[in-house]
C-alpha cells in the first residue's frame, strides 16, 4: 500500500492524494470513504446496483468480527478470500474491527483478547483468532486488533488498553500470512493526550503500512478530539496512510480531515437510512453562497442537512429527494413513493435511501478533495460549520415556499 500525497492545505494538516493498493487496478483518491457492510455485502444495496452508486464507490469496510460465526474463517478460506465470497473482485476490501454491528465491551475484555457484543452473542477475540479471519479474508487493507475504550474509563484502564493494543499489534504482525501486506497499526489512548502521543510513537516504530486511529466517537467532545488528534499526528510519519473509525457526522469528518486523516469508514449514510432520513445538504459552496441553490425543508425533523421522508408533507411530493442529484433513487423515484414505502414498512425504502445517502456522502468527500486540491479547504470547512451554527441559532430556518 502506498500513499502519494498530492495536495496539502496551507492552514492545517489536511491532504489529498492517491492510495495505491497492491492488487487493485484502481486507485483510491483520498480522503476517501469506505462503504459499510454486513458479512461482506452492503446492508441494502445489492451487487448489481452497487456500481451505479458513485464512480468512487469501490472500497468496502468489512469487519473481521462478522466472520466468527457464519460464514466462518474456514468458509472464507475455502472460497478463496472475501472478494470471491462476495463476488466483487474489483473492489477494495478494508478489514477493520470497529464497526456498527459488533460493539466492543471494554469491561469484559482482558489481556487475552477483546470482547465484543455481536449478533451471535458475546465473543472474546484473541489475536490468533482475529488473524485467522484476516488471513482467510485476504483483504487489501487490514488493521490490528485494538482494545478500544470510551472516553470515561479510569486512567488505569486507559493505560491498560494502550499496553494491550501494542501487544496485540505485535502478535498480529507475527501472525500475518506470508505475502500479505502489512497492516494498519491501531492507536488508542482514550481521552489522554499523553497516552495518545505515547501510543502513536510506539505504533510508528512497528512495521505497519499505516495507522488506524481507534477509540474515537466514544464520548469525547469535539474540542477534546481536536487535541487528541493533534497529539497523535505530530508523532506519525507523514507518508503513511491514516484511517479513522467511529466518526459519522460531516463536521466530524471535516475535523478529522483537517487533522490529516486519509481514509474514513462512516455509517452516517446508513444511520440516516434507518431513520427514514435523506441527506440533502448542499455541497457546492460557491453555488450556495451565490444563492443559486434553493433549499426547502418544510416539516418536523428536517433541517438543511436532511429531510424526514416519513412526514406527511411528502405524501404527494412528486419531486426527487434532491433535484440536482443523479443517483439511481433521484433519477427514478419521487419523495411520495419513498414516503409510501416507509409508511408500509417496505424494504425497498431502505434500499433507495441507502443508495441516495451513500451517493450524497461520496459527493461530500469529492467536495472535500476538490477543496483541498483547489486550496480552499479551510474556507469550505468554515462555511460548513457556519451553516450548522446558523441552523442551531435559528437563522437558517425552514422555508416552506
Amino acid at each position: 500500500m502506498k500513499l502519494v500525497v498530492r495536495y496539502r492545505c496551507g492552514e492545517c494538516r489536511a491532504r489529498a492524494g492517491l492510495l495505491y493498493l497492491g492488487n487493485r487496478s484502481h486507485v483510491l483518491e483520498t480522503p476517501c470513504l469506505l462503504l459499510c457492510t454486513r458479512k461482506g455485502l452492503p446492508t441494502f444495496i445489492p451487487p448489481d446496483l452497487l456500481p451505479s452508486i458513485h464512480p468512487d464507490a469501490l472500497a468496502l469496510h468489512a469487519s473481521p468480527l462478522h466472520f466468527f460465526d457464519s460464514p466462518s474463517a474456514k468458509t472464507l478460506a475455502s472460497a478463496g478470500g472475501l472478494h470471491k465470497l462476495i463476488s466483487l473482485p474489483g473492489y477494495t476490501v478494508a478489514a477493520i474491527a470497529r464497526d456498527f454491528v459488533c460493539i466492543a465491551e471494554h469491561g469484559s475484555s482482558n489481556k487475552i483478547g477483546a470482547s465484543f457484543q455481536t449478533p451471535f452473542g458475546r465473543r472474546t477475540v484473541k489475536p490468533v483468532d482475529y488473524m485467522d479471519v484476516i488471513n482467510a479474508m485476504q483483504p487489501d487493507i487490514w488493521a490490528s486488533l485494538p482494545d478500544e475504550v470510551p472516553s470515561w474509563v479510569t486512567h488505569k484502564r486507559n493505560k491498560q488498553s494502550v499496553e494491550r493494543t501494542l501487544n496485540w499489534l505485535d502478535s498480529c504482525i507475527s501472525l500475518k500470512k506470508d505475502g500479505m501486506e502489512s497492516g494498519l497499526g491501531c492507536i488508542v489512548g482514550g481521552n489522554s493526550v499523553e497516552e495518545r502521543g505515547f501510543c502513536a510513537q510506539e505504533v510508528a516504530k512497528r512495521d505497519v503500512s499505516g495507522f488506524c486511529l481507534s477509540g474515537f466517537g466514544l464520548g469525547e467532545s469535539a474540542e477534546e478530539r481536536g487535541l487528541l488528534l493533534e497529539a497523535i499526528m505530530k508523532n506519525l510519519p507523514d507518508e503513511k496512510a491514516r484511517q479513522i473509525s467511529g466518526l459519522d457526522l460531516p463536521e466530524e469528518v471535516l475535523q478529522a480531515v483537517s487533522a490529516g486523516i486519509d481514509v474514513f469508514d462512516s455509517t452516517y449514510p446508513h444511520s440516516l437510512t434507518m431513520s427514514g432520513l435523506a441527506m440533502v445538504f448542499p455541497l457546492d459552496m460557491e453555488e450556495c453562497l451565490s444563492g443559486r441553490t434553493s433549499e426547502n425543508a418544510n416539516d418536523v425533523g428536517s433541517d438543511f442537512t436532511k429531510i424526514n421522508l416519513r412526514a406527511v408533507a411528502y405524501r404527494n411530493d412528486t419531486s426527487p429527494i434532491l433535484e440536482s442529484c443523479r443517483c439511481y433513487t433521484c433519477s427514478k423515484h419521487t419523495k411520495a413513493y419513498i414516503n409510501h414505502l416507509l409508511n408500509t414498512h417496505e424494504m425497498l425504502a431502505q434500499t433507495l435511501l441507502d443508495i441516495h445517502n451513500t451517493h450524497h456522502y461520496m459527493n461530500f468527500f469529492q467536495a472535500i478533495r476538490n477543496a483541498i486540491q483547489g486550496g480552499y479547504f479551510a474556507d469550505f470547512k468554515a462555511w460548513f460549520a457556519s451553516r450548522r451554527q446558523a441552523v442551531n441559532e435559528g437563522i437558517l430556518v425552514s422555508s416552506a415556499a
Binding site: R38, K39, L41, P42, T43, F44, P46, P47, D48, L49, D69, S70, P71, T75, S78, A79, L85, I86, S87, P119, R315, N316, T318, Y328, K332, H333, T334, A336, Y337, N339, H340, L341, N343, T344, E346, M347, L348, Q350, T351, L352
Partner: protein
C-alpha cells in the same frame, strides 16, 4: 397417445410465427391479423402462436407491454416487490406485476395514486400492471367482513368504522390505480365450504360482474377480467363459465382455488374451466403458485398465474430450484459451494454459493433480497421455458424433463398423472412402475 406427441401448429399460427420471427429480426411491427373481436371495449390483443393439445404459447399485448404466455406474475402487494427495484424486475424479465387494491386503497390511497398519475407513474414501473378487486383480501384479512348483495361490508382497519366495498367502488378504485388488467369483484368462498353458500356466491358473482362492467370507466385502457367461481361443483362452474363467456370480456380468471383444496379437485376444476373458456382470450388461474401446479395448469390450457409464494418463501430462506426447493437455513448448506441452481443464469446464481447465502438468509436483509431475486428469476425462466417449449414443438419433452427433476424416484403424484392424461401428455417414463 404418442401420436399426439408432435406439436400441433395450425397453418395460420405457423404463418404468424414466421412473420413474427421475421418481423423481430427486422425490428418491424408484426402485421399478423388480429384473432380477437372488435377492440373498442378491449385494451389487449391475445394471439395464440402455437399449441400442444390444450396447452398454448401466446402473445399478449397490453397497453404497457407485450408479454409471452404462459407467464407468472409476481405480486407487489403495496406497490413494490419485496426489496427488488423496478430495474431489477425489468432485468429479470417481468412483464406484468400485481398490485393489491385493498392494500393500495389503504395506503397510500386510490385518490392519491390517481392524483399522481396512476400506479405506473407512482412506482415508476414502465411495463404492465394487474390489480385484483380487493375482495379476497377483505374476506381473508378482516375479522368481521360480511358479504351481502350490495357488496362486502367490513370494519375499516384504520378506524373501525363500518365500510362497504361494492362492485362499483372496487372498479372505481381500480380505474384510479390505472392497471392494464383489472379484476371484477367476485363473491369468493373457501374451497372447503359446502352447501348452498357456494351456489349463492356463484350467482352473485355473475350479477356483480355486470355491475362491474357498467361501472368501468376506462375500457379502452384497462381490461376487465371476469372471474369464474362455483367452488368444486362442476355444474356450478359450468353455469358460471357460460355466464361469463356470454359477456365477451377481454379475459377470464379461474378463481376460488389455491385455498387448501385437494389437488385432485383443483386440477379438475381448472381442466373443466379451460375447456369451456374461449380459445382466443387469456385464462388466468388466480393464486397459483407452485411451479408444479403452473406446469400442470399450462398443460391444461391456462395462460397466466400469480402467487406470493416465490417472494414469501425467499424471506424464509427457501430457494426455488429445478429439483423443488432448497432450504438454505439447513446446516448442510453451510459447506455447499455450488450456486443455488446450476442451470440458472440470474445475477445471484452467477455470483454466490449456497454456503454464503446460508449465512445471510433470515439474518441479513441482503439474504432476503438475493433469494427473492433468484426466486422471481426462476419463475420467469419457468414462464419462458413453458412458452418456448410449446412454441418449438417440444412441450411434452419439457414436461417430462421437469417431472424427472422434481421426482427423481419416479413418485409423481397421482393427481399430476391424472391431469396429464387429460392434457394428452405421456409421462409414463417419469413414473416409477406400480408395485
Amino acid at each position: 397417445m404418442h401420436s399426439l406427441s408432435k406439436a400441433i401448429i395450425t397453418g395460420s399460427c405457423y404463418r404468424a410465427q414466421v412473420a413474427r420471427s421475421a418481423a423481430l429480426r427486422k425490428c418491424i411491427p408484426s402485421t399478423d391479423t388480429l384473432h380477437n373481436q372488435a377492440d373498442q371495449t378491449m385494451a389487449l390483443q391475445f394471439e395464440v402462436l402455437a399449441r400442444f393439445n390444450r396447452a398454448r404459447a401466446s402473445r399478449l399485448t397490453l397497453p404497457h407491454s407485450q408479454c409471452e404466455t404462459p407467464l407468472f406474475m409476481p405480486v407487489g402487494t403495496q406497490g413494490t416487490i419485496k426489496g427488488l427495484t423496478s430495474t431489477q424486475l425489468e432485468d429479470i424479465g417481468c412483464q406484468i406485476i400485481l398490485g393489491n387494491t385493498y392494500h393500495l386503497a389503504l395506503r397510500p390511497g386510490a385518490d392519491l395514486i390517481d392524483e399522481l398519475g396512476g400506479l405506473h407513474s407512482f412506482m415508476n414501473w414502465p411495463r404492465s400492471l394487474l390489480t385484483d378487486s380487493g375482495g379476497f383480501q377483505m374476506v381473508s384479512l378482516l375479522h368481521l367482513a360480511d358479504i351481502t348483495e350490495e357488496g362486502v361490508t367490513f370494519q375499516s382497519p384504520v378506524d373501525g368504522k363500518p365500510m362497504l366495498l361494492t362492485p362499483e367502488e372496487s372498479i372505481a378504485i381500480q380505474n384510479k390505480i390505472g392497471a392494464d388488467i383489472i379484476m371484477a369483484l367476485d363473491d369468493v368462498v373457501k374451497t372447503t365450504t359446502t352447501g348452498p353458500r357456494v351456489e349463492e356466491a356463484m350467482h352473485r358473482t355473475l350479477r356483480w360482474i355486470k355491475r362491474c362492467i357498467n361501472a368501468h370507466k376506462r375500457p379502452t385502457e384497462q381490461n376487465l377480467f371476469g372471474i369464474v367461481q362455483g367452488g368444486l361443483d362442476p355444474q356450478l362452474r359450468d353455469t358460471c363459465v357460460k355466464g361469463m363467456v356470454a359477456l365477451d370480456l377481454p379475459g377470464y380468471a379461474i378463481g376460488g382455488l389455491a385455498g387448501g383444496e385437494e389437488k385432485d379437485s383443483f386440477w379438475r376444476v381448472v381442466a373443466q374451466c379451460t375447456a369451456g373458456l374461449p380459445e382466443d382470450k387469456p385464462r388466468y388461474v388466480m393464486g397459483v403458485g407452485f411451479p408444479l401446479d403452473i406446469v400442470v395448469c399450462s398443460a391444461l390450457g391456462a395462460d397466466m398465474y400469480d402467487c406470493v409464494y416465490p417472494t414469501r418463501t425467499a424471506r424464509f430462506g427457501t430457494a426455488l430450484v429445478p429439483e423443488g426447493v432448497l432450504k438454505l437455513k439447513h446446516a448442510s448448506m453451510a459447506a455447499d459451494f455450488r450456486p443455488l441452481d446450476e442451470t440458472c443464469s440470474c445475477m445471484v446464481c452467477k455470483r454466490y454459493t449456497r454456503s454464503y447465502l446460508h449465512s445471510l438468509v433470515t439474518k441479513e436483509a441482503m439474504g432476503s433480497q438475493l433469494v427473492s431475486y433468484h426466486n422471481v428469476a426462476y419463475m420467469m425462466k419457468l414462464s419462458r421455458d413453458l412458452h418456448h417449449s410449446i412454441l418449438e414443438g417440444r412441450f411434452p419433452e419439457f414436461v417430462q424433463g421437469f417431472l424427472r427433476k422434481q421426482f427423481p424416484q419416479g413418485d409423481v403424484p397421482e393427481w399430476v398423472c391424472n391431469a396429464m392424461e387429460v392434457a394428452g401428455i405421456d409421462i409414463s417414463m417419469c413414473c416409477a412402475p406400480l408395485k
